[in-house]
């Protein structure tokens, strides 16, 4: 059950010939796949393509009707290996993942796939997580395309182009027997727009019409085949690709009156180029430009004849290629040199090596290009110093004022997150047993490396925390600590981490956070599901988990040879502290594993909120819990926040006119998970926290007790007020 349901959007996938399809880029890709007669799809979730997986997941009905096979793959490597279906058979297949991280994981299978070559079109839709909004290290997928010889499509970011390029991508793949990367940038994935749909096409072969198994021994990647495959890449597949690209005009030309100048851009950055030219008065908002533009919707391979044709008669050409190192720029220079063309090519000398080509960066680069070209017929609206000045209209002292008053907002764990109490426990233990070196992992728990927890030293990749502790463990004063999510565990932590650690007699501690979902990527299901946690103070805790075929992390670890395993609810902070202490002080040899359980609160709330509301509407006794800070006893030290960071635990002005520091305050978004109360207990903070249980549809007993208590308490209160006034 993913975080966002696409049930409504999925209906749009049924659009037929001539219908106007409106929606997000990611949804358009799904529709384009169905229109292209895709036979199988798969992938692994991760921003910015998580929604593609979610849409496919929610579209099972439609996929089933067409006979399209879908798998939510265990990892990107699984997804890439799935493409081997296209080696022997005319089956079109598409898989998707976050890149470059997913591409790295998938690389073994991709290299072999690229060597064997494909019969059916094979597309890898990579969500290029680069630039603003990215959550990973900054690299590009281009190098991988080059070294494995897979083509790389980078379409213009508008829905018609995005859709058209999917169909063309399959054809290109089939025409050149080569798997193809289809690159979507972050903003492109989330761009909205419209295109004219066509009918969905059922694949020729599927469960409804199976293929006849055939063997093509020359496609197996064993010597001597591999030598022939490498030769074939150069001698046949490459020229075939160039021919298809040119014949079908995958790259685009836009003429302009200033014919001695030109701009070469990848498809993904085209819109930004047009906007920059428009702002300089050299284009209109419909893309009619005074400067000729060559748009490489195919970023790899570069088509030499097209480059030569574009550059002929041009004195100055600007190339826009994001990221570093530059791949296209040396290629174009080589092409021009070999054809003896004297066109001057500008690239990374005018544009930044690192970082995204945002609107501002592109405007500045194009302005500098035009100033360098110094064409007397062109008058820019803004000089490069004007553009530089646009970066901020503010004076220095005003910038300083903003620096002081605009606080950073680092990502953090959600309200009620089951991972919070684990990190509270670790932070509370640190003065006693620390300071800790912690090998962290990919997932929501990565946020523990940020304030207020500041726990964690390195992140090496998804499911790699335990593996990454294996070197440093020998040099630490405490047992090595690794923290991994259940998502990372199933992705590859079980093998690269647990199995390897057991084999090497690693005696450190692995904490596996089991929240039942791949939470950080949007709450997708994973092999292990947790039972709803009874420690959360609501009446609906008894609701059963949805899947009963869940696989236990504990059993998997035992199977891999782990002897010392404890499974603990994260919300039980005291017990968690005691168990952590036991693991870190243990003299027993071998890996210690703590499975820290607690259901992802976002998913949990989505699951139980309708149930609670229904229970209340049905007149059933229901208790809704939330927490409360007594602002009379809170002294405004905020120690509770420093070991929590819960979004619901915030501050407000101190109501006491004598006190000046803001008091802690629980706002109405509290879900009653109880962590702030447990923290107040286990860290011995203060007597300000209380849980308030509001009873809906009280029973007769509730009412009788309530009335009785009210009466006695009222009498006691009156009596003491009386005494007080007499005393005064």
């Amino acid at each position: 059950m993913a975080e966002r349901s696409f049930a409504k959007e999925v209906l749009k996938l049924r659009a037929g010939d001539g219908d106007v399809f409106r929606g997000e880029g990611i949804l358009a890709i799904t529709k384009a796949l169905l229109q292209s007669g895709v036979a199988y799809v798969g992938g692994y979730q991760g921003a910015p393509i998580s929604h593609l997986m979610d849409v496919l997941n929610d579209a099972q009905d439609i996929l089933g009707e067409l006979g399209v096979h879908f798998e939510a793959n265990g990892s990107e490597a699984t997804a890439a290996a799935m493409l081997s279906a296209s080696i022997n058979y005319p089956l079109r297949g598409a898989v998707t993942w976050k890149s470059t991280v997913g591409t790295n994981v998938a690389s073994d299978a991709l290299s072999n796939l690229a060597s064997s070559g494909v019969t059916g079109g094979a597309l890898v839709i990579v969500g290029e997580d680069y630039g603003e909004g990215s959550s990973i290290m900054q690299e590009r997928s281009y190098a991988f395309a080059m070294k494995a010889q897979m083509w790389l499509l980078d379409p213009r970011p508008n829905l018609p182009s995005i859709v058209d390029m999917i169909e063309k991508g399959f054809e290109l793949s089939e025409a050149s027997n080569t798997p193809v990367f289809y690159m979507m940038r972050i903003r492109g994935c989330h761009v909205t727009g419209e295109f004219i749909a066509s009918d969905n096409r059922a694949p020729e072969y599927s469960a409804l019409n199976p293929v006849a198994p055939t063997r093509e021994p020359e496609k197996i990647i064993l010597p001597p085949n591999v030598y022939e495959q490498e030769r074939e890449k150069i001698a046949q597949r490459w020229p075939a690709a160039l021919e298809y690209i040119q014949k079908n005009k995958l790259n685009e030309w836009f003429d302009g009156k200033h014919a001695t100048l030109g701009i070469i851009t990848c498809g993904g950055t085209y819109n930004t180029v047009i906007r920059a030219l428009e702002r300089q008065g050299l284009a209109d908002c419909y893309g009619n430009s005074d400067i000729p533009i060559y748009v490489m919707n195919v970023a790899y391979p570069v088509v030499p004849d097209e480059v030569v044709r574009f550059c002929q008669g041009k004195e100055h050409v600007l190339l826009l290629e994001e990221g570093q190192p530059a791949y296209i720029e040396p290629e174009i220079n080589t092409i021009l040199r070999k054809r003896d063309l004297q066109t001057k090519v500008y690239g990374k000398d005018l544009m930044p090596h690192a970082g995204e080509y945002t609107g501002h960066v592109t405007l500045l680069g194009i302005t500098r290009f035009l100033e360098t070209a110094d064409n007397p017929a062109i008058e820019c609206r803004f000089s490069s110093s004007d553009v530089n000045a646009m970066e901020t209209p503010l004076q220095d002292d005003e910038q300083q004022a903003l620096l002081k008053n605009v606080p950073p907002r680092p990502s953090g764990l959600c309200t009620g997150c089951p991972e919070r109490p684990l990190f509270s426990a670790i932070k509370q233990l640190q003065p006693e047993l620390g300071p800790f070196h912690i090998s962290s992992d990919i997932g929501c728990h990565s946020f523990a490396t940020l304030p207020p927890f500041n726990l964690g030293n390195t992140i090496m990749g998804y499911g790699l925390s335990l593996a990454s502790s294996s070197g440093v463990r020998s040099a630490l004063p405490h047992k090595a600590i690794s923290i991994m999510g259940d998502g990372g565990f199933w992705h590859n932590g079980l093998t690269t981490g647990v199995a390897s650690a057991v084999f090497n007699e690693h005696d450190g501690l692995l904490i596996i956070i089991n929240n039942g979902y791949s939470a950080a990527t949007g709450g997708q299901d994973i092999p292990s599901m947790v039972e709803p946690n009874s420690l959360i103070a609501t009446t609906m805790d008894v609701a059963k988990s949805e899947r009963d075929d869940s696989v236990s992390i504990e059993q998997a670890c035992r199977g891999a040879g782990v002897q010392w395993i404890r499974t603990i609810s994260t919300y039980d902070i005291e017990r968690m502290k005691a168990t952590l202490r036991e693991a870190l002080n243990s003299k027993l040899p071998g890996l210690k594993v703590i499975v820290a359980e607690g259901e992802c609160m976002l998913n949990r709330q989505r699951r139980i909120r309708p149930l609670m509301n229904k229970a209340i509407a049905d007149g059933k006794r229901t208790v809704k819990a939330r927490f409360y800070v007594d602002d009379n006893t809170c002294t405004g030290d905020h120690a509770c926040i420093r070991i929590s960071g819960c979004p619901s635990l915030t501050i407000k002005d101190n109501p006491d006119p004598l006190r000046e520091d803001p008091v802690s305050y629980v706002d109405n978004s509290c879900v009653g998970c109880g962590v702030c109360g447990s923290n107040a207990h286990s860290a011995v903070l203060c007597p300000s926290f209380s849980r308030v249980d509001v009873v809906h549809n009280p029973s007769a007993m509730d009412r009788i007790l309530w009335k009785l208590r009210q009466r006695v308490l009222g009498w006691l209160q009156a009596r003491s007020t009386d005494q007080h006034s007499r005393a005064a």
């Binding site: 909004g133 990215s134 959550s135 970011p157 508008n158 492109g188 761009v191 909205t192 930004t272 047009i274 906007r275 908002c285 501002h360 646009m390 901020t392 209209p393 503010l394 004022a401 903003l402 002081k404 008053n405 605009v406 606080p407 950073p408 907002r409 680092p410 953090g412 959600c414 946020f447 304030p451 207020p452 939330r626 409360y628 009379n632 006893t633 002294t635 030290d637 905020h638 926040i641 420093r642 635990l649 915030t650 006119p657 004598l658 520091d661 109360g677 447990s678 207990h681 011995v684 203060c686 007597p687 209380s690 849980r691 308030v692 509001v694 009873v695 009280p698 009412r703 003491s720 005064a728």
Partner: protein, 487 residues
């Protein structure tokens, strides 16, 4: 290509979970209903959990040519910026998205505190007025309102208010009706959303400025002064009287009238030495922190506060329970042996603290307790604990606290004649003393360490005391303080 048509460019800055996506979808519907082409994009991913998110929207009237719209908000190219929180408006300014020649800034003036502001040991909140001032100066048109308050008042969410504020600003050429239609078409919580939308529209259209009320500061205003008849308030400088009246009321409520007189006696020594600078700053500072310190939160005090008459009504209001709804309040107490000994007669308490057996026995009653306040048994137990304050003056805790208070006051008295600034800084250090358990211990020890250093003359200047106070508030590990304390 002068005079050519161009897009209207809009950035929307919201915080994760505030419904920026919903807002954007409404805007798409409005544009399409008016036959405009519209393109939006956003940065989702993990940033949406609690971080700041930006949505970017471009739109242009439809023609037979397809417009090429940018996916990036660009400095100097923004027509409308809409922000759900004032610090986010600051971020838009910082990024250069607000320019005087074209940007309409529609912003909420309320605060959502960032974790960085929340984790401070004292007050680490930013000053929204500085942002507001810059925002008003740099925007071509400024529309500010407390969107959260409007949302709360209409039992709706901030996204509906954002839409209303944008519609009311007149920055987009669409009718109020077409915005409202988009909300109606979304079919979820329509009535509440429409009410919030209309309220915000009205505020924006009628040009009302920010509704943040800056006069309501933590100043002790004379209007609500407690009745302190019978106490010699007139002996003190007028400027300090409001604070002192509060101090009298607080100490009397804490113990009795005699205790309030003790407060005044102690304060008198200080005010007698005050040279009157800055409205009798020294007296004011001491009046404030002395009252708070003398009302230290021991077990009887906490019990007394938990029993206060209005408390359950405060809770009821806060959790939004109706007047006839049943609710239970479960307190989280975690008394330590130290707190228990503090209420014992001084000799006994000290004896137990030094006795392993005594501590073990008391240990059975310490640790985390969850107590339901609004049950008769717990209420009676709390009443017993509160009643113990009768014996407070003989308790170990009282004697301990008053020894520290006197050491602090003596240092102020010693400094005041020769170095009034130093005296003021010492008085200001009273702010350090707060918290419970280990926190309380750490903060009062820090204050004593400062007093000790001044007594030893290893610290002689106001600046150094101020520096130490800042160091004490910089982290809760005591490390920066210890480093600053080293000569």
């Amino acid at each position: 290509m002068a005079g050519a048509p161009s897009t209207i460019n809009i950035v929307a800055a919201a915080l994760g979970g505030q419904g920026g996506g919903v807002f954007t979808n409404w805007l798409i519907d409005v544009a399409q209903a008016n036959d405009w082409a519209v393109q939006t994009t956003s940065l989702a991913g993990v940033a949406q959990r609690t971080g700041a998110t930006i949505y970017y929207i471009e739109m242009i009237p439809k023609t037979d040519q397809q417009a090429v719209m940018s996916l990036f908000p660009s400095q100097g190219d923004i027509d409308i910026a809409i922000c759900s929180e004032i610090a986010e408006a600051g971020r838009m300014l910082q990024r250069g998205f607000i320019t005087a020649d074209r940007t309409t800034l529609v912003t909420s003036t309320n605060r959502v505190f960032s974790i960085i502001e929340k984790i401070g040991l004292a007050d680490s909140t930013i000053d929204p007025d500085e942002i507001l001032d810059l925002a008003q100066r740099y925007a071509k048109q400024f529309v500010g309102m407390d969107m959260q308050a409007i949302a709360d008042k209409n039992k709706s969410v901030i996204s509906a208010v954002m839409l209303g504020a944008l519609a009311g600003s007149g920055a987009l050429p669409f009718s109020q009706q077409s915005f409202a239609d988009a909300i109606k078409a979304s079919g979820k919580g329509v009535d509440a959303s429409l009410a919030a939308f209309n309220a915000a529209f009205k505020v924006a259209a009628e040009g009302q400025e920010s509704t943040t009320d800056t006069t309501e500061e933590n100043e002790a205003s004379t209007a609500e002064l407690p009745n302190v008849d019978g106490f010699p308030l007139g002996d003190f400088p007028a400027a300090a009287q409001p604070l002192i009246a509060l101090g009298i009321e607080r100490t009397r409520n804490y113990q009795d009238a005699d205790y309030a007189h003790l407060y005044l006696d102690k304060l008198k020594t200080i005010s007698g030495l005050d040279n009157g600078d800055k409205d009798y700053e020294l007296t004011q500072l001491t009046a404030r922190y002395l009252a708070l310190w003398m009302c230290f939160e021991d077990v009887p005090r906490v019990a007394q506060l938990k029993l206060r008459e209005q408390r359950l009504e405060e809770v009821r209001r806060e959790v939004g329970a109706t007047s006839d709804q049943i609710f239970y309040v479960t307190e989280y107490f975690a008394p330590r042996v130290e707190e228990m000994c503090a209420v014992m007669p001084a000799k006994l308490g000290a004896g137990v603290m030094n006795s392993a057996l005594g501590k073990t026995v008391l240990g059975w009653f310490t640790g985390g307790k969850k107590l339901r306040t609004n049950t008769v048994s717990v209420n009676l137990a709390l009443r017993f604990l509160a009643w113990l304050r009768k014996f407070r003056r003989d308790s170990l805790g009282y004697q301990h606290e008053h020894r520290m208070i006197d050491a602090w006051l003596t240092a102020i008295v010693d400094a005041a004649p020769g170095n009034p600034e130093l005296a003021c800084e010492l008085a200001r250090c009273g702010r350090l003393v707060k918290g419970y358990g280990d926190t309380r211990h750490r903060t009062s020890q820090q204050l004593l360490a400062i007093v000790e250093a001044v007594n030893q003359q290893s610290i002689t200047t106001a600046e150094k005391v101020s520096e130490l106070r800042e160091a004490a508030l910089a982290d809760d590990s005591n490390q920066q303080f210890q480093a600053a304390l080293k000569p």
